[in-house]
Protein backbone atom coordinates (compact mmCIF):
# COMPACT_ATOMS: atom_id res chain seq x y z
CA UNK A 1 0.00 0.00 0.00
CA UNK A 2 2.81 2.40 0.88
CA UNK A 3 4.55 1.68 -2.42
CA UNK A 4 1.35 2.58 -4.31
CA UNK A 5 1.17 5.79 -2.37
CA UNK A 6 4.74 6.56 -3.28
CA UNK A 7 3.97 5.94 -6.92
CA UNK A 8 1.23 8.54 -6.79
CA UNK A 9 3.78 11.04 -5.55
CA UNK A 10 6.15 10.48 -8.47
CA UNK A 11 4.46 12.93 -10.88
CA UNK A 12 4.41 15.49 -8.13
CA UNK A 13 8.13 15.18 -7.43
CA UNK A 14 8.93 15.18 -11.13
CA UNK A 15 6.90 18.35 -11.46
CA UNK A 16 8.73 19.99 -8.58
CA UNK A 17 12.09 18.95 -9.98
CA UNK A 18 11.43 20.05 -13.54
CA UNK A 19 9.40 23.20 -13.04
CA UNK A 20 10.49 24.51 -9.65
CA UNK A 21 13.97 23.34 -8.73
CA UNK A 22 15.52 23.25 -12.20
CA UNK A 23 14.46 26.76 -13.29
CA UNK A 24 15.59 28.28 -9.99
CA UNK A 25 18.97 26.57 -10.27
CA UNK A 26 19.28 27.72 -13.88
CA UNK A 27 18.55 31.31 -12.91
CA UNK A 28 21.10 31.19 -10.10
CA UNK A 29 23.65 29.66 -12.49
CA UNK A 30 22.97 32.26 -15.19
CA UNK A 31 23.29 35.09 -12.72
CA UNK A 32 26.98 34.26 -12.29
CA UNK A 33 27.68 34.44 -16.03
CA UNK A 34 29.16 37.55 -17.62
CA UNK A 35 28.21 38.74 -21.11
CA UNK A 36 30.95 36.58 -22.62
CA UNK A 37 29.83 33.49 -20.73
CA UNK A 38 32.60 33.56 -18.14
CA UNK A 39 32.07 33.01 -14.41
CA UNK A 40 31.84 36.31 -12.53
CA UNK A 41 30.35 38.17 -9.60
CA UNK A 42 30.22 41.32 -11.71
CA UNK A 43 26.43 41.18 -12.11
CA UNK A 44 25.93 41.33 -8.36
CA UNK A 45 28.51 44.05 -7.78
CA UNK A 46 26.92 45.96 -10.66
CA UNK A 47 23.53 45.63 -9.14
CA UNK A 48 24.51 46.76 -5.67
CA UNK A 49 26.71 49.64 -6.80
CA UNK A 50 24.50 51.05 -9.54
CA UNK A 51 22.30 53.90 -8.39
CA UNK A 52 19.86 53.05 -11.21
CA UNK A 53 19.19 49.51 -10.06
CA UNK A 54 18.98 50.42 -6.39
CA UNK A 55 16.58 53.25 -7.14
CA UNK A 56 14.53 50.90 -9.29
CA UNK A 57 14.43 48.36 -6.47
CA UNK A 58 13.26 51.00 -4.01
CA UNK A 59 10.64 52.19 -6.51
CA UNK A 60 9.38 48.66 -7.08
CA UNK A 61 9.10 48.00 -3.37
CA UNK A 62 7.23 51.25 -2.81
CA UNK A 63 4.77 50.55 -5.63
CA UNK A 64 4.28 46.96 -4.49
CA UNK A 65 3.75 48.15 -0.93
CA UNK A 66 1.13 50.71 -1.95
CA UNK A 67 -0.65 48.19 -4.15
CA UNK A 68 -0.67 45.59 -1.38
CA UNK A 69 -1.87 48.08 1.20
CA UNK A 70 -4.76 49.38 -0.92
CA UNK A 71 -5.69 45.85 -1.91
CA UNK A 72 -5.77 44.82 1.74
CA UNK A 73 -7.81 47.84 2.82
CA UNK A 74 -10.41 47.05 0.16
CA UNK A 75 -10.33 43.27 0.45
CA UNK A 76 -10.63 42.75 4.19
CA UNK A 77 -13.99 44.48 4.63
CA UNK A 78 -15.15 42.92 1.36
CA UNK A 79 -14.28 39.42 2.55
CA UNK A 80 -15.84 40.15 5.93
CA UNK A 81 -19.13 41.34 4.48
CA UNK A 82 -19.07 38.56 1.91
CA UNK A 83 -18.83 35.99 4.68
CA UNK A 84 -21.97 37.36 6.27
CA UNK A 85 -24.12 37.37 3.11
CA UNK A 86 -26.64 34.69 2.39
CA UNK A 87 -25.35 33.37 -0.94
CA UNK A 88 -21.67 33.80 -0.20
CA UNK A 89 -20.43 31.28 -2.75
CA UNK A 90 -22.26 33.15 -5.47
CA UNK A 91 -20.80 36.49 -4.44
CA UNK A 92 -17.34 34.99 -4.16
CA UNK A 93 -17.77 33.55 -7.63
CA UNK A 94 -18.65 37.00 -8.98
CA UNK A 95 -15.47 38.42 -7.46
CA UNK A 96 -13.33 35.66 -8.89
CA UNK A 97 -14.95 35.87 -12.30
CA UNK A 98 -12.73 38.70 -13.63
CA UNK A 99 -9.66 36.51 -13.14
CA UNK A 100 -11.02 34.29 -15.90
CA UNK A 101 -10.50 37.13 -18.33
CA UNK A 102 -7.05 37.47 -19.81
CA UNK A 103 -4.87 40.13 -18.15
CA UNK A 104 -4.03 41.72 -21.47
CA UNK A 105 -7.69 42.16 -22.36
CA UNK A 106 -8.37 43.81 -19.02
CA UNK A 107 -5.41 46.14 -19.56
CA UNK A 108 -6.73 47.14 -22.98
CA UNK A 109 -10.18 47.71 -21.51
CA UNK A 110 -8.64 50.15 -19.02
CA UNK A 111 -6.82 51.93 -21.83
CA UNK A 112 -10.24 52.50 -23.37
CA UNK A 113 -11.61 53.86 -20.11
CA UNK A 114 -8.65 56.05 -19.13
CA UNK A 115 -7.51 57.43 -22.51
CA UNK A 116 -7.90 61.08 -23.54
CA UNK A 117 -11.14 60.37 -25.39
CA UNK A 118 -12.11 57.53 -23.08
CA UNK A 119 -15.32 57.13 -21.11
CA UNK A 120 -13.92 58.53 -17.85
CA UNK A 121 -12.69 61.71 -19.54
CA UNK A 122 -16.02 62.08 -21.30
CA UNK A 123 -17.65 61.92 -17.91
CA UNK A 124 -15.21 64.50 -16.52
CA UNK A 125 -15.93 66.79 -19.45
CA UNK A 126 -19.66 66.30 -18.87
CA UNK A 127 -19.56 67.31 -15.20
CA UNK A 128 -17.31 70.24 -16.09
CA UNK A 129 -13.93 69.19 -14.68
CA UNK A 130 -12.49 68.99 -18.15
CA UNK A 131 -10.10 66.53 -19.69
CA UNK A 132 -7.47 65.05 -17.40
CA UNK A 133 -4.36 63.02 -18.09
CA UNK A 134 -5.22 59.71 -16.44
CA UNK A 135 -3.48 57.08 -18.52
CA UNK A 136 0.31 56.85 -17.99
CA UNK A 137 0.18 58.19 -14.43
CA UNK A 138 1.02 56.62 -11.07
CA UNK A 139 -2.66 56.70 -10.25
CA UNK A 140 -3.76 54.65 -13.25
CA UNK A 141 -0.98 52.12 -12.74
CA UNK A 142 -1.78 51.58 -9.06
CA UNK A 143 -5.52 51.51 -9.75
CA UNK A 144 -5.31 48.83 -12.41
CA UNK A 145 -2.74 46.77 -10.49
CA UNK A 146 -4.96 46.88 -7.41
CA UNK A 147 -8.00 45.89 -9.43
CA UNK A 148 -6.18 42.90 -10.82
CA UNK A 149 -4.79 41.74 -7.47
CA UNK A 150 -7.95 42.10 -5.38
CA UNK A 151 -9.34 38.58 -5.97
CA UNK A 152 -6.03 37.09 -4.83
CA UNK A 153 -6.35 38.96 -1.55
CA UNK A 154 -10.05 38.33 -0.96
CA UNK A 155 -9.81 34.58 -1.47
CA UNK A 156 -7.47 33.67 1.41
CA UNK A 157 -9.07 36.17 3.80
CA UNK A 158 -12.51 34.86 2.94
CA UNK A 159 -11.38 31.28 3.51
CA UNK A 160 -9.83 32.15 6.87
CA UNK A 161 -13.01 33.89 7.98
CA UNK A 162 -15.21 31.08 6.77
CA UNK A 163 -13.18 28.40 8.54
CA UNK A 164 -13.53 30.25 11.81
CA UNK A 165 -15.71 28.47 14.30
CA UNK A 166 -18.81 30.70 14.84
CA UNK A 167 -19.14 29.47 18.43
CA UNK A 168 -15.95 31.41 19.22
CA UNK A 169 -17.75 34.61 18.34
CA UNK A 170 -20.78 33.60 20.39
CA UNK A 171 -18.49 32.79 23.29
CA UNK A 172 -16.82 36.15 23.04
CA UNK A 173 -20.19 37.89 23.05
CA UNK A 174 -21.42 35.73 25.94
CA UNK A 175 -18.39 36.68 27.94
CA UNK A 176 -19.28 40.33 27.59
CA UNK A 177 -17.16 41.61 24.74
CA UNK A 178 -18.86 44.13 22.50
CA UNK A 179 -18.66 43.73 18.73
CA UNK A 180 -15.56 45.96 18.38
CA UNK A 181 -13.71 43.94 21.01
CA UNK A 182 -14.82 40.69 19.44
CA UNK A 183 -13.50 41.80 16.11
CA UNK A 184 -10.24 43.11 17.49
CA UNK A 185 -9.45 40.24 19.86
CA UNK A 186 -11.10 37.23 18.23
CA UNK A 187 -11.97 37.61 14.58
CA UNK A 188 -8.99 39.62 13.34
CA UNK A 189 -6.24 37.54 15.03
CA UNK A 190 -7.85 34.35 13.78
CA UNK A 191 -8.06 35.65 10.20
CA UNK A 192 -4.47 36.84 10.24
CA UNK A 193 -3.25 33.73 8.44
CA UNK A 194 -5.51 34.59 5.52
CA UNK A 195 -4.18 38.13 5.49
CA UNK A 196 -0.62 36.84 5.44
CA UNK A 197 -1.21 34.51 2.51
CA UNK A 198 -3.02 37.33 0.75
CA UNK A 199 -0.11 39.70 1.26
CA UNK A 200 2.27 37.06 -0.06
CA UNK A 201 0.09 36.43 -3.09
CA UNK A 202 -0.13 40.13 -3.94
CA UNK A 203 3.17 41.69 -2.92
CA UNK A 204 5.52 39.40 -4.83
CA UNK A 205 3.81 39.58 -8.24
CA UNK A 206 3.44 43.36 -7.76
CA UNK A 207 7.22 43.69 -7.47
CA UNK A 208 7.71 42.47 -11.00
CA UNK A 209 4.66 43.66 -12.94
CA UNK A 210 5.97 44.57 -16.35
CA UNK A 211 3.11 44.33 -18.81
CA UNK A 212 1.11 46.94 -16.92
CA UNK A 213 4.06 49.30 -16.50
CA UNK A 214 4.18 49.62 -20.26
CA UNK A 215 0.51 49.41 -21.21
CA UNK A 216 -0.99 51.46 -18.38
CA UNK A 217 2.09 53.20 -16.98
CA UNK A 218 3.51 54.02 -20.43
CA UNK A 219 6.94 53.16 -18.99
CA UNK A 220 6.64 56.24 -16.79
CA UNK A 221 6.53 53.67 -13.99
CA UNK A 222 9.58 51.40 -13.92
CA UNK A 223 9.78 48.24 -11.85
CA UNK A 224 12.28 45.39 -11.65
CA UNK A 225 10.11 43.44 -14.08
CA UNK A 226 10.78 46.05 -16.76
CA UNK A 227 14.51 45.63 -16.31
CA UNK A 228 14.32 41.84 -16.51
CA UNK A 229 12.24 42.01 -19.68
CA UNK A 230 14.71 44.40 -21.26
CA UNK A 231 17.75 42.32 -20.33
CA UNK A 232 16.30 39.12 -21.69
CA UNK A 233 14.69 40.46 -24.84
CA UNK A 234 16.64 43.53 -25.91
CA UNK A 235 20.20 43.50 -24.57
CA UNK A 236 20.28 39.71 -24.35
CA UNK A 237 22.29 40.13 -21.17
CA UNK A 238 20.78 37.09 -19.49
CA UNK A 239 23.30 37.23 -16.65
CA UNK A 240 22.07 40.61 -15.40
CA UNK A 241 18.44 39.64 -15.97
CA UNK A 242 18.96 36.48 -13.92
CA UNK A 243 20.67 38.45 -11.18
CA UNK A 244 17.60 40.62 -10.79
CA UNK A 245 15.54 37.41 -10.87
CA UNK A 246 17.61 35.94 -8.03
CA UNK A 247 17.15 39.11 -6.02
CA UNK A 248 13.40 38.88 -6.50
CA UNK A 249 13.47 35.26 -5.33
CA UNK A 250 15.43 36.31 -2.24
CA UNK A 251 12.95 39.10 -1.60
CA UNK A 252 10.16 36.53 -1.81
CA UNK A 253 11.91 34.26 0.70
CA UNK A 254 12.37 37.23 3.00
CA UNK A 255 8.68 38.02 2.89
CA UNK A 256 7.69 34.38 3.35
CA UNK A 257 9.89 34.22 6.44
CA UNK A 258 8.66 37.56 7.75
CA UNK A 259 5.01 36.64 7.37
CA UNK A 260 5.40 32.95 8.19
CA UNK A 261 7.34 33.07 11.46
CA UNK A 262 4.52 34.32 13.61
CA UNK A 263 2.19 31.65 12.35
CA UNK A 264 4.30 28.97 13.98
CA UNK A 265 4.56 30.87 17.23
CA UNK A 266 0.83 31.39 17.31
CA UNK A 267 0.34 27.68 16.73
CA UNK A 268 2.58 26.83 19.65
CA UNK A 269 0.78 29.14 21.98
CA UNK A 270 -2.60 27.55 21.41
CA UNK A 271 -1.04 24.19 21.99
Amino acid sequence: MTSTKRMYAVPYFLWLLLFVAAPVLLIVYQSFLGINGQFTFANYTNYFTSATYLEMTVNSVIYAFIITLITLVISYPAAYVLNKTKHKQLWLMLIILPTWVNLLLKAYAFIGIFSTHGSLNQFFAFIGIGQQQILFTDFSFIFVATYIEIPFMIMPIFNALEEMNPSLISASRDLGANSVDTFRRVIFPLSLNGVKSGVQAVFIPSLSLFMLTRLIGGNRVITLGTAIEEHFLVTQNWGMGSTIGVILILAMLLIMVATGEKKRKGGEKTR
Binding site: T4, I35, N36, S50, T52, E55, M56, N59, I111, S115, T116, H117, Q133, L135, F136, R214, L215, G218, N219, R220, I222, T226, A227, E230, H231, L233, V234, T235, Q236, N237, M240
Partner: protein
Protein backbone atom coordinates in the same frame (compact mmCIF):
# COMPACT_ATOMS: atom_id res chain seq x y z
CA UNK B 1 -4.61 0.37 -9.11
CA UNK B 2 -5.21 -1.82 -12.15
CA UNK B 3 -7.37 0.90 -13.61
CA UNK B 4 -4.55 3.39 -13.19
CA UNK B 5 -2.12 1.05 -14.90
CA UNK B 6 -4.44 0.49 -17.84
CA UNK B 7 -4.88 4.22 -18.13
CA UNK B 8 -1.15 4.87 -18.10
CA UNK B 9 -0.44 2.14 -20.63
CA UNK B 10 -3.24 3.48 -22.79
CA UNK B 11 -1.73 6.94 -22.76
CA UNK B 12 1.73 5.63 -23.64
CA UNK B 13 0.30 3.62 -26.54
CA UNK B 14 -1.59 6.64 -27.88
CA UNK B 15 1.51 8.83 -27.64
CA UNK B 16 3.48 6.19 -29.52
CA UNK B 17 0.91 5.90 -32.29
CA UNK B 18 0.67 9.67 -32.69
CA UNK B 19 4.45 10.03 -32.70
CA UNK B 20 4.99 7.50 -35.44
CA UNK B 21 2.11 8.66 -37.58
CA UNK B 22 3.44 12.23 -37.29
CA UNK B 23 6.86 11.01 -38.38
CA UNK B 24 5.26 9.18 -41.28
CA UNK B 25 3.28 12.22 -42.35
CA UNK B 26 6.33 14.46 -42.09
CA UNK B 27 8.30 12.11 -44.28
CA UNK B 28 5.52 12.08 -46.82
CA UNK B 29 5.49 15.84 -46.84
CA UNK B 30 9.22 15.82 -47.29
CA UNK B 31 8.94 13.71 -50.42
CA UNK B 32 6.47 16.12 -51.91
CA UNK B 33 8.48 19.18 -50.97
CA UNK B 34 10.15 19.53 -54.41
CA UNK B 35 6.97 21.20 -55.37
CA UNK B 36 6.31 23.33 -52.31
CA UNK B 37 7.89 26.64 -51.40
CA UNK B 38 7.45 27.48 -47.73
CA UNK B 39 7.61 31.21 -47.06
CA UNK B 40 7.97 32.60 -43.55
CA UNK B 41 7.06 36.29 -43.51
CA UNK B 42 5.60 39.03 -41.33
CA UNK B 43 1.82 39.08 -41.13
CA UNK B 44 0.17 40.97 -44.01
CA UNK B 45 3.50 41.73 -45.66
CA UNK B 46 2.89 40.62 -49.24
CA UNK B 47 0.15 41.20 -51.78
CA UNK B 48 -1.73 37.85 -51.72
CA UNK B 49 -2.40 38.05 -55.45
CA UNK B 50 1.37 37.95 -56.01
CA UNK B 51 1.51 34.55 -54.33
CA UNK B 52 -1.15 33.28 -56.74
CA UNK B 53 0.74 34.74 -59.67
CA UNK B 54 3.95 33.07 -58.46
CA UNK B 55 2.19 29.70 -58.25
CA UNK B 56 0.80 30.12 -61.74
CA UNK B 57 4.07 31.22 -63.32
CA UNK B 58 6.36 28.68 -61.74
CA UNK B 59 4.09 25.74 -60.96
CA UNK B 60 5.24 25.67 -57.31
CA UNK B 61 2.75 25.53 -54.49
CA UNK B 62 3.21 28.18 -51.81
CA UNK B 63 2.96 27.33 -48.14
CA UNK B 64 2.75 30.74 -46.45
CA UNK B 65 3.36 31.17 -42.72
CA UNK B 66 3.66 34.37 -40.71
CA UNK B 67 5.45 35.66 -37.61
CA UNK B 68 4.99 38.85 -35.59
CA UNK B 69 8.49 39.53 -34.31
CA UNK B 70 12.05 38.87 -35.41
CA UNK B 71 12.72 37.14 -32.12
CA UNK B 72 9.82 34.73 -32.56
CA UNK B 73 11.01 33.89 -36.06
CA UNK B 74 14.57 33.34 -34.83
CA UNK B 75 13.47 30.97 -32.08
CA UNK B 76 11.25 28.98 -34.40
CA UNK B 77 13.94 28.49 -37.04
CA UNK B 78 16.57 27.74 -34.40
CA UNK B 79 14.44 25.05 -32.75
CA UNK B 80 14.20 23.16 -36.03
CA UNK B 81 11.35 20.92 -37.08
CA UNK B 82 10.36 23.51 -39.67
CA UNK B 83 11.15 23.59 -43.36
CA UNK B 84 11.10 27.22 -44.34
CA UNK B 85 12.60 27.94 -47.74
CA UNK B 86 12.37 31.73 -47.49
CA UNK B 87 12.24 34.06 -44.49
CA UNK B 88 12.12 37.87 -44.36
CA UNK B 89 13.83 39.14 -41.17
CA UNK B 90 15.09 42.65 -40.36
CA UNK B 91 18.70 43.68 -40.74
CA UNK B 92 19.93 43.23 -37.16
CA UNK B 93 18.39 39.79 -37.03
CA UNK B 94 20.05 38.84 -40.33
CA UNK B 95 23.41 39.71 -38.80
CA UNK B 96 22.60 37.56 -35.78
CA UNK B 97 21.44 34.65 -37.94
CA UNK B 98 24.60 34.82 -40.06
CA UNK B 99 26.64 34.62 -36.85
CA UNK B 100 24.60 31.66 -35.59
CA UNK B 101 25.09 29.96 -38.97
CA UNK B 102 21.35 29.73 -39.59
CA UNK B 103 21.42 31.07 -43.16
CA UNK B 104 22.42 29.56 -46.50
CA UNK B 105 24.80 31.54 -48.67
CA UNK B 106 23.05 32.91 -51.72
CA UNK B 107 24.60 31.87 -55.02
CA UNK B 108 24.80 35.13 -57.02
CA UNK B 109 24.78 33.26 -60.33
CA UNK B 110 21.28 32.01 -59.60
CA UNK B 111 19.89 35.47 -58.85
CA UNK B 112 18.37 37.33 -61.77
CA UNK B 113 17.65 41.02 -61.45
CA UNK B 114 19.81 42.12 -58.52
CA UNK B 115 20.79 45.07 -60.70
CA UNK B 116 17.20 46.31 -60.38
CA UNK B 117 17.95 47.15 -56.77
CA UNK B 118 19.29 50.62 -56.09
CA UNK B 119 22.97 50.27 -55.21
CA UNK B 120 22.60 52.33 -52.03
CA UNK B 121 20.53 49.50 -50.50
CA UNK B 122 23.11 46.84 -51.28
CA UNK B 123 26.35 45.84 -49.55
CA UNK B 124 25.27 47.04 -46.09
CA UNK B 125 27.26 46.45 -42.93
CA UNK B 126 24.95 43.71 -41.66
CA UNK B 127 25.56 41.59 -44.76
CA UNK B 128 28.59 42.80 -46.75
CA UNK B 129 28.33 41.91 -50.39
CA UNK B 130 24.78 40.56 -49.92
CA UNK B 131 26.09 37.06 -49.49
CA UNK B 132 23.06 36.02 -47.47
CA UNK B 133 20.21 38.43 -48.12
CA UNK B 134 18.35 40.32 -50.86
CA UNK B 135 16.46 43.57 -49.99
CA UNK B 136 12.67 43.29 -49.79
CA UNK B 137 11.55 46.59 -48.24
CA UNK B 138 13.35 49.38 -46.41
CA UNK B 139 12.30 52.21 -44.15
CA UNK B 140 13.29 54.83 -41.63
CA UNK B 141 12.70 56.08 -38.10
CA UNK B 142 10.93 59.42 -37.93
CA UNK B 143 8.36 61.68 -36.38
CA UNK B 144 4.61 61.24 -36.81
CA UNK B 145 2.56 64.35 -36.04
CA UNK B 146 -1.09 65.32 -36.09
CA UNK B 147 -1.73 68.54 -38.03
CA UNK B 148 -4.63 69.39 -35.71
CA UNK B 149 -2.18 70.03 -32.86
CA UNK B 150 1.15 70.88 -34.52
CA UNK B 151 2.04 72.82 -37.65
CA UNK B 152 4.33 71.15 -40.15
CA UNK B 153 6.93 73.92 -39.98
CA UNK B 154 7.28 73.46 -36.22
CA UNK B 155 8.20 69.82 -36.38
CA UNK B 156 10.88 69.03 -38.94
CA UNK B 157 13.86 68.02 -36.84
CA UNK B 158 14.68 65.91 -33.79
CA UNK B 159 15.36 69.08 -31.78
CA UNK B 160 11.76 70.18 -32.34
CA UNK B 161 10.66 67.40 -29.97
CA UNK B 162 12.17 69.42 -27.12
CA UNK B 163 9.99 72.51 -27.69
CA UNK B 164 7.96 73.45 -24.58
CA UNK B 165 4.74 73.64 -26.62
CA UNK B 166 4.75 69.84 -26.80
CA UNK B 167 4.56 69.37 -23.04
CA UNK B 168 3.27 65.88 -22.24
CA UNK B 169 2.45 65.31 -25.90
CA UNK B 170 5.23 63.13 -27.30
CA UNK B 171 5.14 59.35 -27.47
CA UNK B 172 8.36 57.42 -27.93
CA UNK B 173 8.97 53.92 -29.20
CA UNK B 174 10.36 51.70 -26.45
CA UNK B 175 13.81 50.96 -27.85
CA UNK B 176 17.23 51.91 -26.47
CA UNK B 177 18.92 52.11 -29.87
CA UNK B 178 16.15 54.19 -31.39
CA UNK B 179 15.80 56.80 -28.65
CA UNK B 180 19.49 57.10 -27.78
CA UNK B 181 20.11 57.23 -31.53
CA UNK B 182 17.79 60.18 -32.09
CA UNK B 183 19.45 62.09 -29.26
CA UNK B 184 22.86 61.41 -30.80
CA UNK B 185 21.58 62.41 -34.25
CA UNK B 186 20.15 65.64 -32.90
CA UNK B 187 23.65 66.52 -31.71
CA UNK B 188 25.13 65.73 -35.11
CA UNK B 189 26.63 62.48 -33.89
CA UNK B 190 26.33 59.03 -35.44
CA UNK B 191 23.66 56.71 -34.09
CA UNK B 192 26.39 54.07 -33.93
CA UNK B 193 28.50 56.22 -31.62
CA UNK B 194 30.55 54.17 -29.14
CA UNK B 195 32.08 57.08 -27.23
CA UNK B 196 30.96 56.89 -23.60
CA UNK B 197 31.08 60.67 -23.19
CA UNK B 198 28.81 61.19 -26.18
CA UNK B 199 26.39 58.62 -24.83
CA UNK B 200 26.30 60.26 -21.41
CA UNK B 201 25.67 63.61 -23.06
CA UNK B 202 22.87 62.09 -25.14
CA UNK B 203 21.23 60.73 -22.00
CA UNK B 204 21.56 64.12 -20.30
CA UNK B 205 19.83 65.67 -23.26
CA UNK B 206 17.09 63.05 -23.15
CA UNK B 207 16.33 63.76 -19.49
CA UNK B 208 15.45 67.30 -20.61
CA UNK B 209 12.88 65.72 -22.94
CA UNK B 210 11.14 64.02 -20.02
CA UNK B 211 8.49 66.74 -19.42
CA UNK B 212 7.33 66.31 -23.01
CA UNK B 213 7.22 62.53 -22.93
CA UNK B 214 3.73 61.19 -22.50
CA UNK B 215 4.61 57.53 -22.71
CA UNK B 216 7.28 55.15 -23.92
CA UNK B 217 5.37 52.34 -25.57
CA UNK B 218 5.65 49.79 -28.35
CA UNK B 219 3.14 48.78 -31.04
CA UNK B 220 0.36 50.59 -29.15
CA UNK B 221 1.67 53.88 -30.60
CA UNK B 222 -0.27 53.07 -33.77
CA UNK B 223 -3.56 52.86 -31.91
CA UNK B 224 -2.86 55.94 -29.76
CA UNK B 225 -1.89 58.14 -32.69
CA UNK B 226 -4.93 57.10 -34.73
CA UNK B 227 -7.12 57.91 -31.70
CA UNK B 228 -5.36 61.28 -31.32
CA UNK B 229 -4.17 60.51 -27.81
CA UNK B 230 -0.92 62.36 -28.49
CA UNK B 231 0.17 65.10 -30.89
CA UNK B 232 3.56 63.68 -31.81
CA UNK B 233 5.20 60.27 -31.79
CA UNK B 234 8.53 58.76 -32.77
CA UNK B 235 8.20 55.48 -34.63
CA UNK B 236 9.15 53.54 -37.76
CA UNK B 237 8.00 54.45 -41.26
CA UNK B 238 6.26 51.09 -41.69
CA UNK B 239 4.08 51.74 -38.65
CA UNK B 240 3.63 55.31 -39.85
CA UNK B 241 2.29 54.28 -43.24
CA UNK B 242 -0.41 52.25 -41.50
CA UNK B 243 -1.28 55.16 -39.20
CA UNK B 244 -1.48 57.58 -42.12
CA UNK B 245 -3.94 55.26 -43.85
CA UNK B 246 -6.29 55.39 -40.86
CA UNK B 247 -6.14 59.08 -39.93
CA UNK B 248 -5.67 61.75 -42.58
CA UNK B 249 -4.48 64.32 -40.05
CA UNK B 250 -1.31 62.34 -39.44
CA UNK B 251 1.95 63.03 -41.28
CA UNK B 252 5.41 61.54 -41.21
CA UNK B 253 8.72 63.42 -41.20
CA UNK B 254 12.25 62.07 -41.52
CA UNK B 255 14.58 64.55 -39.81
CA UNK B 256 17.10 65.55 -42.46
CA UNK B 257 20.00 65.68 -39.99
CA UNK B 258 20.04 61.91 -39.72
CA UNK B 259 18.04 58.89 -38.71
CA UNK B 260 17.94 55.14 -38.89
CA UNK B 261 17.66 53.17 -42.12
CA UNK B 262 16.21 49.69 -41.65
CA UNK B 263 15.79 46.74 -43.94
CA UNK B 264 13.66 43.66 -44.28
CA UNK B 265 15.55 41.28 -46.53
CA UNK B 266 14.78 37.91 -48.09
CA UNK B 267 17.01 35.10 -46.81
CA UNK B 268 17.26 31.35 -47.28
CA UNK B 269 17.36 29.71 -43.82
CA UNK B 270 19.29 26.48 -43.16
CA UNK B 271 15.94 24.71 -42.89
CA UNK B 272 15.49 25.02 -46.66
CA UNK B 273 14.07 21.96 -48.42
CA UNK B 274 13.48 23.44 -51.84
CA UNK B 275 16.40 25.63 -52.85
CA UNK B 276 15.31 25.89 -56.46
CA UNK B 277 11.93 27.16 -55.35
CA UNK B 278 13.54 29.64 -52.96
CA UNK B 279 15.63 31.14 -55.77
CA UNK B 280 12.57 31.19 -58.00
CA UNK B 281 10.70 33.23 -55.37
CA UNK B 282 13.56 35.70 -54.83
CA UNK B 283 13.86 36.24 -58.58
CA UNK B 284 10.11 36.60 -58.86
CA UNK B 285 10.07 39.34 -56.21
CA UNK B 286 13.02 41.09 -57.87
CA UNK B 287 11.02 41.59 -61.07
CA UNK B 288 10.13 45.29 -61.22
CA UNK B 289 6.47 44.67 -61.99
CA UNK B 290 5.98 42.42 -58.98
CA UNK B 291 8.01 44.61 -56.63
CA UNK B 292 5.97 47.63 -57.71
CA UNK B 293 2.67 45.83 -57.16
CA UNK B 294 3.82 44.72 -53.70
CA UNK B 295 5.02 48.22 -52.74
CA UNK B 296 1.72 49.73 -53.81
CA UNK B 297 -0.21 47.16 -51.78
CA UNK B 298 1.89 47.27 -48.57
CA UNK B 299 2.79 50.98 -48.67
CA UNK B 300 6.41 50.48 -47.61
CA UNK B 301 9.39 51.80 -49.58
CA UNK B 302 10.75 49.49 -52.25
CA UNK B 303 14.51 49.24 -52.84
CA UNK B 304 13.81 48.23 -56.46
CA UNK B 305 14.81 51.16 -58.70
CA UNK B 306 13.06 49.85 -61.79
CA UNK B 307 9.92 49.17 -59.77
CA UNK B 308 9.86 52.80 -58.64
CA UNK B 309 9.57 53.87 -62.28
CA UNK B 310 6.41 51.76 -62.56
CA UNK B 311 4.82 53.19 -59.42
CA UNK B 312 2.43 56.17 -59.61
CA UNK B 313 4.18 59.51 -59.29
CA UNK B 314 2.33 60.48 -56.11
CA UNK B 315 3.87 57.51 -54.31
CA UNK B 316 7.49 57.89 -55.40
CA UNK B 317 7.49 61.67 -55.01
CA UNK B 318 6.20 61.37 -51.44
CA UNK B 319 9.22 62.46 -49.39
CA UNK B 320 7.67 60.87 -46.31
CA UNK B 321 8.56 57.44 -47.67
CA UNK B 322 11.01 58.22 -50.48
CA UNK B 323 13.16 61.00 -48.97
CA UNK B 324 15.44 63.17 -51.11
CA UNK B 325 19.13 62.38 -51.67
CA UNK B 326 20.21 64.89 -49.02
CA UNK B 327 18.22 63.13 -46.28
CA UNK B 328 19.10 59.69 -47.64
CA UNK B 329 22.80 60.46 -47.32
CA UNK B 330 22.37 61.04 -43.57
CA UNK B 331 20.55 57.79 -42.86
CA UNK B 332 22.48 55.05 -41.09
CA UNK B 333 21.92 51.37 -40.46
CA UNK B 334 22.22 50.19 -36.84
CA UNK B 335 25.52 48.37 -36.57
CA UNK B 336 26.20 45.62 -34.12
CA UNK B 337 28.07 47.55 -31.44
CA UNK B 338 29.03 44.56 -29.37
CA UNK B 339 27.52 43.45 -26.11
CA UNK B 340 29.40 45.94 -23.97
CA UNK B 341 28.28 49.07 -25.79
CA UNK B 342 24.78 47.68 -26.23
CA UNK B 343 24.66 47.32 -22.45
CA UNK B 344 25.76 50.92 -22.10
CA UNK B 345 22.98 52.06 -24.42
CA UNK B 346 20.48 50.01 -22.50
CA UNK B 347 21.54 51.16 -19.05
CA UNK B 348 21.48 54.82 -20.08
CA UNK B 349 18.08 54.37 -21.69
CA UNK B 350 16.83 52.77 -18.49
CA UNK B 351 18.17 55.76 -16.52
CA UNK B 352 16.32 58.09 -18.88
CA UNK B 353 13.11 56.11 -18.43
CA UNK B 354 13.46 56.29 -14.64
CA UNK B 355 14.16 60.00 -14.64
CA UNK B 356 11.22 61.92 -13.12
CA UNK B 357 10.39 65.47 -14.04
Amino acid sequence: MRKLQTLLIGIVVIIGVLFFSARYLEKNQGYASDNIVTIYNWGDYIDPSLLKKFEKETGYKVNYETFDSNEAMYTKIQQGGTNYDIAIPSEYMIEKMIKSKMLEKIDPTKIIGLSNINAQFLNQSFDPGNQYSIPYFWGTLGIIYNDKFVEAKDIQHWDDLWQPALKNNVMLIDGAREIMGLALNSEGKSLNDKNTQDLEAAKEKLTKLTPNVKAIVADEIKMYMINEESAVAVSFSGEASEMLDSNKHLHYVIPSEGSNLWFDNMVIPKTVKNKKGAYAFINFMLQPKNAAQNAEYIGYSTPNEKAMKLLPKEITSDTQFYPDQETMSHLEVYQNLGQKTLNEYNDLFLEFKMYRK
